[in-house]
């Protein structure tokens, strides 16, 4: 099709609106934000002063607390992603490869429905569950265990909970597409279940997991509400940015550059693995 005359014109017509929108509305905004990272704030009025300085970045690089928070945020995002992958794999496997027909449809609906329930409401529900007298502790008490209480662990659990459908969906789609013959060929050549999972299933779902991780990882990286609700005394990058937004926009902008850089690197890495096509 691309060889027809006028293909260039048609391409331009197709591409111009979305690109204009994304470049103007989005990249433009990001550029404005990142530009303001090089400005500074009048400490007296907290008005932005447009003088060029790299102080904000120097601050961020030299203040140990920012590094601690950034690393903690990264750790939590990674933990959430891993937890989601571990949970999503068997569930998606069951849905795609064991469940059939009606059951499969019901399961899919069941997985998608919570997306509508309201992020804050779900986080608050977890707050109640994880409390001192909440049902988590009540359920664990007979085993002589205690729940994690509020804190980083709770943040990981709740974020993993919130983003789980975003991981299940692509993994399910990948498993569903996996040809049955490949699994049979593996068994036929002497591989047991574990071996087949490792050598045939895992490579096929890897791009899907990476695709799901684009959501779980980046949504976790920027979250600041869940941590307020169940984080106890934990603070993440999102909180630090949020606390600076109104006070010192340039500093907040400079801080924003940290997750932006992390995610752009991450996207570039997973794109190579074909993840963006598996979304």
């Amino acid at each position: 099709m691309s060889c027809e005359p006028g293909a260039r014109g048609r391409l331009a017509a197709l591409l111009a609106p979305p690109l204009l929108w994304l470049v103007l509305a989005y990249l433009g905004s990001l550029a404005i934000l990142l530009l303001s990272a090089f400005w500074t704030t009048d400490p007296f009025t907290s008005d932005v002063v447009r003088t060029w300085t790299t102080d904000n970045f120097r601050d961020i690089l030299t203040t140990p607390v920012y590094r601690t928070v950034a690393l903690r945020t990264l750790g939590i995002a990674v933990a959430v992603t891993l937890l989601d992958a571990v949970l999503a794999l068997p569930m998606a496997f069951f849905m795609a490869r064991v469940a059939r027909g009606r059951l499969r449809r019901v399961l899919l609906v069941a997985v998608l429905t919570p997306l509508w329930a309201g992020y804050l409401v779900k986080a608050y529900a977890w707050r109640v569950m994880l409390g001192e007298h909440g049902i988590v502790n009540a359920a664990l008490a007979p085993l002589g265990l205690r729940g994690p209480g509020y804190g980083a662990t709770a943040v990981v659990i709740v974020l993993a909970y919130l983003w789980l459908p975003y991981m299940i969906l692509p993994v399910y789609a990948a498993l569903e597409r996996l040809p049955a013959h490949q699994l049979e060929a593996s068994a036929d050549l002497g591989a047991g279940t574990v071996r087949t999972l490792r050598s045939v299933v895992a490579p096929a779902v890897r791009p899907a997991i990476l695709a799901g991780s684009v959501f779980t990882f980046s949504l976790s990286l920027g979250d600041y509400l869940t941590v307020q609700i169940v984080g106890g005394r934990t603070q993440l990058l999102g909180n630090v940015i949020a606390s600076q937004v109104t006070l010192d926009l340039p500093l907040a902008a400079a801080l924003s550059a940290v997750p932006v850089a992390l995610i752009v690197c991450y996207l570039a890495a997973v794109r190579r693995a074909g993840a963006l096509d598996s979304l």
């Binding site: 490949q182 049979e184 060929a185 593996s186 068994a187 036929d188 050549l189 002497g190 050598s199 490579p203």
Partner: protein
């Protein structure tokens, strides 16, 4: 009685237990009986084919032997061992799938070595044997490629090498040539024969192409709606079909029933006359001894290179006979559409078929 019963009575070629023995094997999918009471015994080292139309249960039979399906009833033995309830990974059988089912994320070499990898064979040995297997299928230099970078015929050979690498007792092939075009298909048929002879592995080939089954196999079984209609060597199947279905499915034939049989063959029943057995002669020619002669007119001539196919409408009744003629010399002048001709054949060539 089918051929299977007779086969069992004979001692297997090597004197050992048959490579595969099916005893009264049936498989139901819900209400559909895909395989119905199959009895089959394959000799060590033979090239055996399953022939039958679409939906006749060929694939299901193969999958039962490989272990991907469990039979509803009956018993499956491999080299004398009952494997009816064994997982595929524990059977000494490999399969070449119709779509090859190569692992797309592995190189050709890794694909071929897979059976060794899962058995924990060390890398140097694995590689050496994978190279050897690739040499057998003439893909020596293709080890580092990915399946996506190969042509259809090359992929098929990789699948073959992968299945042959650890000398399985039995190789199952489910229409491995179905997706290939004619030229490649013929080339791969020659390859299959060569490799089977070189390795001595028992081959069980599923196909719906009768010419393929006839030329490649030592013996073959014809399936008809889940049942084995006949088992035997190609010549026997072609020349002495056990049922009208086999007669019609294997090769083309002129099937004559009831009144048509009376008119053409001269006796009631169902008769088959192969088109190549009929001779076209001038309208004035008389039958020789032991020959039968009928008169008719040519209604269609299809020239297909090496041979020509004539359709002749007989003067008595509305019966049509197909006649095959090799183009060894120019066509006789008489052979034009509309020409009146006599058809001659040896009375032995019209044989009665049951049902």
């Amino acid at each position: 009685m089918t051929e299977a019963a007779r086969t069992d009575a004979r001692p297997a070629r090597t004197g050992a237990a048959p490579a595969v023995r099916l005893t009264a094997v049936s498989k139901d999918f819900g209400a559909v009986r895909a395989v119905d009471g199959a009895e089959l015994a394959l000799r060590e080292g033979e090239f055996f084919s399953l022939l039958g139309p679409s939906g006749s249960g060929k694939t299901t039979l193969l999958r039962l032997i490989a272990g991907f399906e469990r039979p509803t009833a009956g018993r499956i033995e491999l080299a004398g061992r009952d494997v009816t309830a064994l997982a595929p990974s524990r059977r000494d059988v490999h399969t070449v799938f119709q779509d090859y089912a190569l692992f797309p994320h592995m190189t050709v070499e890794q694909n071929v070595a897979y059976a060794l990898t899962v058995r924990g064979v060390r890398k140097p040995e694995r590689l050496a044997r994978a190279r050897e297997a690739l040499r057998t299928v003439r893909l020596d230099d293709y080890g580092p490629r990915r399946p996506a970078q190969l042509s259809g015929g090359q992929r098929q050979r990789v699948a073959l090498a992968r299945a042959l690498i650890d000398d399985p007792g039995l190789l199952l092939l489910d229409e491995p040539l179905g997706a290939l075009d004619l030229q490649l298909r013929q080339e791969m048929q020659r390859e299959l024969t060569r490799i089977q002879r070189a390795t001595g592995v028992t081959f069980l080939l599923v196909t719906h192409d009768q010419e393929e089954a006839l030329t490649l196999s030592d013996r073959l079984a014809v399936l008809d709606r889940g049942r084995i209609a006949q088992i035997g060597p190609p010549l026997e199947i072609y020349d002495r079909p056990a049922t009208a279905f086999v007669a019609g499915f294997v090769g083309t034939t002129n099937l004559l029933r009831d009144q048509a049989a009376v008119r053409v063959v001269g006796a009631p029943g169902t008769y088959s006359i192969r088109p190549e057995r009929i001779r076209i002669a001038a309208p004035d020619s008389a039958p020789g001894p032991g020959e039968r002669c009928v008169a008719g007119r040519i209604t269609d001539i299809a020239h297909a290179g090496a041979h020509t196919r004539f359709v002749i409408r007989l003067d008595a009744g509305d019966d049509r006979l197909t006649v095959l003629r090799l183009n060894s010399a120019g066509l006789p002048d008489a052979a034009r559409i509309g020409a009146a001709v006599h058809l001659l054949w040896n009375v032995n060539d019209a044989f009665a078929v049951p049902g």
